[in-house]
Symmetry: C2
């Protein structure tokens, strides 16, 4: 796919302008742009500005509220349910995380479940907000149902990601951000377009038989949970995805599992959905809630050094601490620009035409 | 292996007597016995009374303190580090979980990291303590290093289990309790004794090459993380095991990763260990911190019904909600007795002889 490099500021300013034209406040538009560009910088373009067009079409259909009243509907000193009032997920997520941080500043930790939200981009963005405040940050979200539980053919779970960010001292921080399935939807689509097979252990047929056809999930098949099959622990991946679903949606009364509203404009919400929108879950814990912050960071540095200095397996270059690959992308892309496929730029141009904005990338 | 059935009470009373003779208080002896017998009841004998002999030998070597002063060394309203003073893990875990429940009763949630502890049995025991108080319970522990991170040959992580227990209404509760590796150490040992191979995706050789030899981990090999290989997401399993290790040990200043003290009497602590004992992490959140408890339980019932009524894959009987297999064992074993191999009974008899107790099983 042809692509060109664009610098961070140009992409950010262009993306922010689109959100502003949809009716977002300056602050919310900045937030939405920030979250999408963060995905680009960290080498996760599937959650980057290629989403802008779908976001705009969702807004056009009235499924996103750009003037949301995001508010707490139930709380204790350290827990809350936040109703996002159909906001963009980035707006819901950052506001919920700010509430969590504020509660934790007072009480040591806080846990927020969010309903009535939508696609929130990369989970790691929110956990890193806490990390920058010397807190351990956790974020998760449920998502379009594509994954079948172990032993089932029904797509009842999303690829439900979990992100945990942990501050360090001199070392780069620990930032794990991973789906609870072996493969992401986007990567299957790419293989399908290229006419390629995938290894066994990613998808199954409509009967639940292992398959190597990446297109099978559009014909009744499903993605399998992390672990791939029961013998290799797929019930553990299923458990993780289920925990994400329950904390994000049952706690908040969002839609769970099979009822999660599709986050694409051409698919409608299922009839009889029991909850409100899509759900997220956020948590923060102050590191000085456990020991003096500097002591923690020094010990965390020792943990990181132990892992990054581990001996590599045969024919492997090095052992990576979670977050390191994304950090390297960010360093490179900030310096040399972010590669964006021409197709994505054409989509943004189209968004600009619809929104009657002057395109200048 | 020959085995006989024993009833719950007989096993419990015999196990408790052994702990009491080691110097545990009546309460602590009951706790330790409870945790071991709970594993038996739930069909996880690898964490049951077969551990008693090793526990006693560890105590004989002075590595367990049966009169521990388990205390908070640092805290906020909702966080704490607890030093377990070399207690049996069951004593450390139940006391820490009680502290968490008490804090959460006041503030909505609480999170405790424990150091200077030892093997704590099944993780699910502690998360279920919270569940019985209408709270979501989380428990995890680090463990003997047997697992190599993705791309590495060094055994830097344990099979680090995670347990999450969530109350329901009319339905049986959700209790996930799983290792972050595809296979447990105990199951590999059984295959090795039987001279059998294991599927690829469980273990690797000392060079990091996939292997089907279950004995290879005693000859420089390692267990791989959940996901089995990078293509199937082993970096996600590695991330999970790493999160467990950091929350259990870096937060509390226990020993992390490769420095976790062996929980068997014939292996000694590594030189230069940077922390204190082994670490655990516990968390609780009141369900009424998010919505009225009865509303939550009704919605959780709906979640559970959706999953247990899912259509099974070809040749599969049914779809299981996490915790259901263990619940069925418990129901059956409470009624018909718990099968215990003769070898384990002989070990207990030996423990009784050493402790000069009258064996009467």
């Amino acid at each position: 796919m042809d692509s060109q490099r664009y610098n961070y500021d140009d992409l950010y300013v262009h993306t922010r302008a689109a959100f502003k034209k949809m009716g977002c406040s300056q602050e919310d538009a900045s937030t939405c742009a920030n979250v999408l560009i963060a995905a680009e910088l960290r080498g996760i373009p599937s959650h980057g500005i290629m989403r802008l067009k779908d976001y705009m079409l969702m807004w056009q259909k009235g499924r996103i509220n750009t003037k949301p009243k995001v508010q707490i509907v139930h709380e204790t000193p350290t827990t809350a349910v936040v109703d996002a009032d159909q906001a963009f997920g980035a707006v819901a997520g950052t506001r919920a995380m700010r509430i969590a941080i504020k509660k934790a500043e007072k009480y040591g930790s806080a846990w927020i479940s969010v309903r009535n939200s939508s696609h929130f981009g990369i989970a790691g963005y929110y956990s890193m907000m806490a990390m920058k405040k010397e807190m351990i940050g956790l974020s998760m979200t449920n998502a379009n149902p594509l994954v079948a539980p172990t032993f089932s053919i029904d797509k009842l779970l999303g690829t439900n990601p979990v992100a945990v960010a942990i501050p360090a001292g001199k070392e780069n921080p620990f930032v794990a951000d991973f789906a609870t399935s072996p493969i992401a939807r986007g990567k299957l689509a790419i293989k399908e377009r290229e006419g390629l097979e995938v290894p066994e252990g990613y998808v199954q047929s409509r009967e639940g038989i292992p398959s190597t056809d990446p297109g099978i999930i559009t014909r009744g098949g499903a993605i399998v949970p992390l672990g791939s099959d029961y013998a290799h622990g797929s019930h553990k991946g299923y458990s993780m995805a289920a925990i994400v679903d329950i904390l994000s949606a049952v706690l908040s009364r969002a839609n769970f599992g099979p009822f999660v509203p599709p986050q694409v404009p051409y698919l409608n919400q299922k009839e009889g959905a029991p909850g409100k929108g899509l759900g997220h879950f956020f948590g923060v814990m102050r590191i000085d809630g456990f020991q003096p912050a500097d002591d923690f960071k020094a010990y965390m540095d020792q943990w990181i050094q132990t892992f990054k200095n581990a001996r590599p397996a045969k024919d492997q270059g090095e052992v990576l601490v979670p977050g390191e690959p994304e950090r390297r992308y960010e360093e490179k892309y900030r310096k040399n620009g972010i590669p964006v496929p021409d197709k994505v730029i054409a989509d943004i141009k189209e968004v600009y035409e619809i929104l009657e904005l002057k395109f200048n990338l």
